[in-house]
């Protein structure tokens, strides 16, 4: 134990204030301190996670206010797992972008690293908080840092993308607020466990309307179908690692929030049609759009959206196997998609357009990065023996257990489309001649970036060849999510025990 869960939020916020001050003295600290913070967060969450695996869920009450009234942070097998993944991905993104814009002025780098740190902190906060209003605050923190990162590059396109994101984010925030108000008005509490324990007392109409507004409020971060219009633009216009951070961290937090709401807050058990329908629509629209994209990052963005749709479908089955599959998918996606974004941004480093046709034949010039990209592409399209296969297999078996044949067929058809567009890119990369007139100038990747990529690739191979290395944790996490009563009991009991 190197700290308590509150450090996961407090330290980055503190560092965010301190960095500009220290930065005045030592400019390099602007790059280094976020890294140290993210590393610390990774270690902290990992050690906490190991701790709770042995000792059961850990609930921390902030400032001594006990559970139903105060804010508490819940570190359970599920939230711990997600927090660990997020902090780790944050660290990887930092490692990748350590030298990022080292040639640009201090201010830009300062902004970038501070917001990256806040992004991670906010996402972790979304996951580990036990209070819906607190969750709303974190969502806003994530949103603001995400808008800022999207608009990182000065220019019309970035500003436009950020503005779109901002509009959607604001709308969603108001919707979320409405939902929170409804709940609070009905039940008089904001604590998730408390709400979950008393949800039966709520008027059924209010309940559904609250749920709808929750879905809409969180849906923007979770990239569900009609609310994800900002995503392709933001992913395309933001710097490469930010795309990785969005797909690896932010979206996971959004999905978590939505799932927690559905499973725990409103205590729905069994298959959830709403999630399945939204998930399928998201999946189909996103993947078919991805097939027709001409820009690499846009394609990856759509692919990311599509994967999230698949995750929602898996959650929507509501069974143990479904939740397990969804978590597995999230884990794999959190590893693979950053790899694709990061290596992809190396490949398109010297272009602002980022067209797929511009990376024609780049494998001759940047072989290692290209191979890593191809590895990511093979993995995300679910080809064995890489990690994506196992998660896809889990989804399918989960669906088969529920006899959801249509879902299996659709998922498989979508997988075919996925294979097609990823292989088109691989073809361009490897089997076309490098053409000076079309392709961009190759970029010599930095050492730190390559280490980040290799770590991700290593994880892909590890999970691919030895999936048992992670399935145990995922199993526990799935149990944790499904067992609502345990969550309620744990949070409330613990709070009461502290009072006593």
């Amino acid at each position: 134990m190197v700290g308590t869960p509150v450090f996961l939020i407090a330290i980055p916020l503190l560092a965010a204030f301190l960095i500009p001050l220290i930065g005045m003295i030592w400019k390099e600290s602007v790059r280094i301190i976020p890294g140290l913070v993210l590393a610390y967060m990774t270690v902290l969450s990992a050690s906490l996670y190991l701790f709770i695996l042995e000792n059961g869920t850990y609930v921390e009450t902030i400032a001594g206010w006990q559970a139903p009234w105060g804010i508490d942070l819940v570190f359970s097998p599920l939230t711990g797992l997600l927090a660990t993944i997020m902090t780790f991905m944050g660290f990887i993104v930092w490692l990748y972008s350590y030298r990022f814009k080292s040639n640009v002025e201090f201010e830009a780098a300062k902004k970038y690293f501070i917001f990256l740190m806040l992004l991670v902190a906010g996402s972790v906060g979304i996951v580990i908080t036990g209070d819906i209003f607190n969750q709303f605050v974190f969502i806003e923190i994530v949103g603001i840092s995400a808008y800022a990162l999207t608009a990182f590059y000065t220019g019309r396109n970035s500003a436009e993308a950020a503005f779109k994101y901002l509009i959607m984010g604001s709308l969603s925030a108001s919707a979320l607020l409405i939902a929170i108000i409804i709940v609070y008005a009905q039940l008089g509490t904001l604590n998730m466990a408390e709400i979950a324990a008393n949800i039966d007392q709520m008027n059924v109409h209010y309940r559904i309307i609250a749920m709808i507004f929750f879905i809409i409020g969180i849906g923007v971060e979770a990239e569900i179908f009609p609310l994800n219009g900002w995503a392709p633009d933001a992913y395309t216009e933001a710097p490469g690692p930010v795309g990785g951070a969005f797909s690896g961290i932010v979206v996971k937090a959004g999905i978590y929030a939505m799932v927690r709401m559905m499973f725990t807050l409103f205590d729905i058990s069994g298959p959830m049609k709403i999630l399945i329908v939204i998930g399928l629509v998201t999946l189909i629209v996103a993947e078919t759009s991805a097939l027709r994209q001409e820009k690499l990052k846009r394609m990856l963005a759509y692919s990311s959206i599509g994967q999230m749709g698949l995750v929602l479908v898996a959650f929507g089955m509501g069974t143990k196997a479904g939740v397990f599959a969804a978590l597995f998918l999230m884990l794999n996606h959190a590893i693979i998609k950053p790899l694709l974004f990061l290596s992809g941004s190396f490949l398109t480093f010297n272009t602002t357009e980022k067209y797929i046709s511009q990376i024609t034949g780049m494998a001759k010039k940047m072989p290692v990065v290209s191979v890593l990209f191809a590895l990511g592409a093979l993995a995300i399209s679910g080809l064995p023996p890489f990690s994506g296969f196992w998660s896809k297999l889990s989804v399918l078996t989960a669906a088969a257990d529920e006899n959801l044949m249509l879902i299996i067929a659709l998922v498989l058809i979508i997988s075919v489309i996925e294979i097609v567009y990823y292989f088109r890119v691989i073809n361009r990369l490897f089997f076309f001649e490098y053409d000076e007139s079309v392709s961009v100038k190759p970029h010599k990747p930095g050492f730190n970036g390559m280490i980040a990529l290799f770590i991700l690739a290593g994880l892909i191979l590890l999970i691919g060849f030895y999936p048992a290395s992670v399935t145990g944790y995922l199993d526990l996490a799935a149990d944790d999510l499904l067992n609502t009563h345990q969550y309620i009991d744990k949070v409330l009991q613990l709070g009461q025990s502290i009072i006593q």
Binding site: I212, I274, S289, R292, P384, A400, P467, A468, T471
Partner: protein, 615 residues
């Protein structure tokens, strides 16, 4: 049994070593490559016996690796062809770039095929299947020609097939709770009727893609002709047999358990027959040797599918025998094309002519394989066809006989075209510099051609393992009826000893071929092929007298109505339609903030409207 694991460890280590150490030195690369193949081949042929296996668990699923007598037949083809085409590839590919990738990928393909044959459970079967798919895909696009067209077609169809298979596997797993093939087969009769029909059809779709069954074959011509010939030798010879392997298991062990399941068999057999006929017609039309052989492969696989789909003991024996023979002669032919292409720079019939005196050994290999391919006695292809006809006759498939007979007769047209196009005809000055291919390329061809001859005379050599494999599949031993012989042609039920045929064939062949031909050859004088009776005209050196353009035009004119419709075109139009549709979905995200805000509102309204049904 640890030999299995050793083989796979050697494969993976060899792949990695070939890839990474191969960057250092070309010779080292070749040695590592061949050593990997040789070591695994040696271990396989000495250390592996049927009915040995291991079990382990992944994701809480019990899996097993082992080899059955049935998969042993296919493993022989794979290992043998891998060894020979490996030797061939080392020489044939020496001038190419990116070779460490090529050889590593080659090993990966061989490994995956062995993995498929070693898999006793569906999950590892599928994993190896997919490894095979993408590693072979990388070979298809290796040359960089037609990548987006041919390659995407191949990967698309493979993915469709593979995911159909995956769907079936998932159903099986969720129904039986086990992925072991044995459990599946034992429990299959417990499935409900809908599943009993769906699962075999899905599996057959998956296998049908790899074995190029008619509506699913469109990837094959491009893919076979696009990959390097040294690889296509294995691609067509061994890799397509994986589809046959799966198909046999499905058709024999699973479909038989379905009530009225023979309909599936009938349909598959007819599709095989149509495949054979149509592919033959298309093969005749091709002017490129690679494309022609690719279509020919599709046709030959059609025969094999007919054999295994009929499924009587004799038909199965015929199908499997033809599978082995096809592996042998078709890889020889692809190697021949590779040798010709390496020596001349093109594989087009309309360009290359008259190589017989330049490349006599290659011609010999080509001649033997063509005779085997055409099914002419005494080479092995005939025995397979004979058995096939007899079995079709015995199982009352009369129209299929005519179908098969038509395609095998029409096959003579392209057989002749192959030999004539490359080796016979005018010896043009353009090709006068051509030399025989290097020994490392010729020897594998000749070894394979020798096998084609050997199996024609002593079919018992391969019928014995096939018989054991069939016993594993539940057939009664065919020993007493079919393969008991050590000498030319057997009696299929007719109790006649065939000694005189042997005497006569040997005698007549010796008399005419050796005595008259060689004697005549020695007493006469060679004149160049420009010295022909062209109404007294003396052909100039630059005049191309060879007849290669529109080679089978009259025949093609006669069958033109049949060939007017191409499945390819339908697929293309479907693909274009889908792309247009996807373009529409792409436009949903307009990139306009106001639209997104509108979506926001509409989404709320929709959720509110459908709240009763959705929540």
């Amino acid at each position: 049994m640890e030999t299995i694991l050793t083989i796979f460890i050697i494969f993976i280590a060899g792949t990695a070593a070939t890839y990474f150490l191969g960057k250092l030195n070309g010779v080292l690369r070749s040695i590592l490559f061949l050593a990997t193949l040789a070591a695994t081949g040696w271990l396989f042929f000495t250390g592996i016996t049927p009915e040995s296996g291991i079990e382990f668990r992944i994701l809480g699923i019990t899996m097993g690796w082992g080899i059955t007598p049935f998969s042993y037949i296919f493993a022989i083809i794979v290992m043998g062809l891998a060894l020979l085409s490996g030797i061939y590839a080392v020489k044939a590919m020496e001038d190419e770039k990116n070779l460490n990738f090529f050889f590593a990928n080659f090993l990966l393909t061989v490994m995956s095929m062995m993995g498929i044959l070693f898999s006793l459970d569906l999950i590892s079967f599928f994993i190896f299947w997919e490894i095979m798919t993408w590693s072979s895909y990388f070979m298809v696009v290796f040359t960089g020609k037609d990548v987006q067209k041919v390659g995407i077609k191949y990967i698309l169809f493979s993915a469709i097939g593979a995911y159909a298979m995956l769907m079936a596997i998932v159903f099986i797993y969720s129904f039986t709770g086990s992925v072991l093939i044995g459990d599946f087969i034992d429990n299959f009769h417990l499935f409900d009727t809908q599943m009993q029909w769906l699962i075999p059809i899905l599996l057959l779709t998956g296998f049908g893609v790899k074995s190029a069954l008619m509506p699913l074959h469109v990837w094959a011509p491009g893919a076979y002709s696009n990959s390097p010939m040294s690889y296509t030798a294995m691609f067509s010879g061994a890799l397509s047999k994986m589809g046959i392997y799966g198909m046999v298991i499905v058709l024999i062990l699973i479909v038989q358990q379905i009530p009225n399941g023979y309909w599936i068999k009938e349909v598959i057999a007819w599709m095989g027959g149509i495949t054979a006929a149509m592919a033959t017609l298309w093969a005749i039309k091709q002017d490129d040797a690679k494309k022609m052989l690719a279509y020919s492969s599709i046709g030959q696989l059609g025969y094999i599918i007919v054999g295994v789909a009929i499924g009587t003991p004799l038909a199965m024996l015929a199908g499997l025998f033809m599978a082995v023979m096809h592996g042998i002669f078709k890889s020889t032919l692809f190697m021949v094309v590779g040798a010709v292409e390496r020596q001349t720079g093109t594989s087009n019939f309309t360009e290359v002519t008259g190589l017989i005196r330049k490349m006599p050994w290659t011609f010999l290999a080509a001649l033997m394989s063509i005779i085997a391919l055409a099914g002419i006695p005494p080479l092995g292809g005939f025995i397979g066809k004979w058995m096939l006809y007899e079995s079709l006759m015995g199982s009352n498939h009369y129209l299929l006989i005519i179908m098969i007979f038509f395609s095998s007769t029409a096959a003579f047209l392209y057989c002749f075209k192959f030999l004539f196009g490359f080796f016979l005809g005018q010896e043009e000055k353009e090709w006068s510099h051509v030399k025989e291919a290097p020994a490392m390329m010729v020897i594998p061809m000749l070894i394979l051609a020798g096998f084609a001859f050997l199996l024609g005379i002593f079919p018992g050599l391969i019928l014995k393992p096939i018989n054991e494999g069939m016993q594993f599949l539940g057939y009664v031993s065919t020993t007493n009826r079919f393969w008991e012989m050590s000498i030319i042609f057997n009696d299929w039920g007719n109790a006649v000893v065939m000694m005189p045929i042997f005497y006569w064939i040997i005698g007549v062949f010796v008399f005419f071929l050796v005595f008259l031909t060689i004697k005549g050859y020695k007493t006469t004088r060679y004149v160049s092929t420009k010295d022909i009776s062209t109404s007294g005209e003396i052909p100039k050196e630059h005049e191309n007298l060879t007849f290669t353009m529109g080679f089978m035009q009259p025949f093609l004119r006669a069958v033109a109505p049949v060939m007017k419709r191409q499945i390819d075109k339908y697929y293309t139009s479907i693909g274009n339609g889908l792309e247009a549709l996807f373009d529409f979905t792409r436009r949903i995200n307009t990139g306009n903030g106001q639209t997104y805000a509108l979506y926001f509102v509409v989404f709320i309204i929709i959720l509110l409207l459908f709240k009763d049904s959705l929540f």
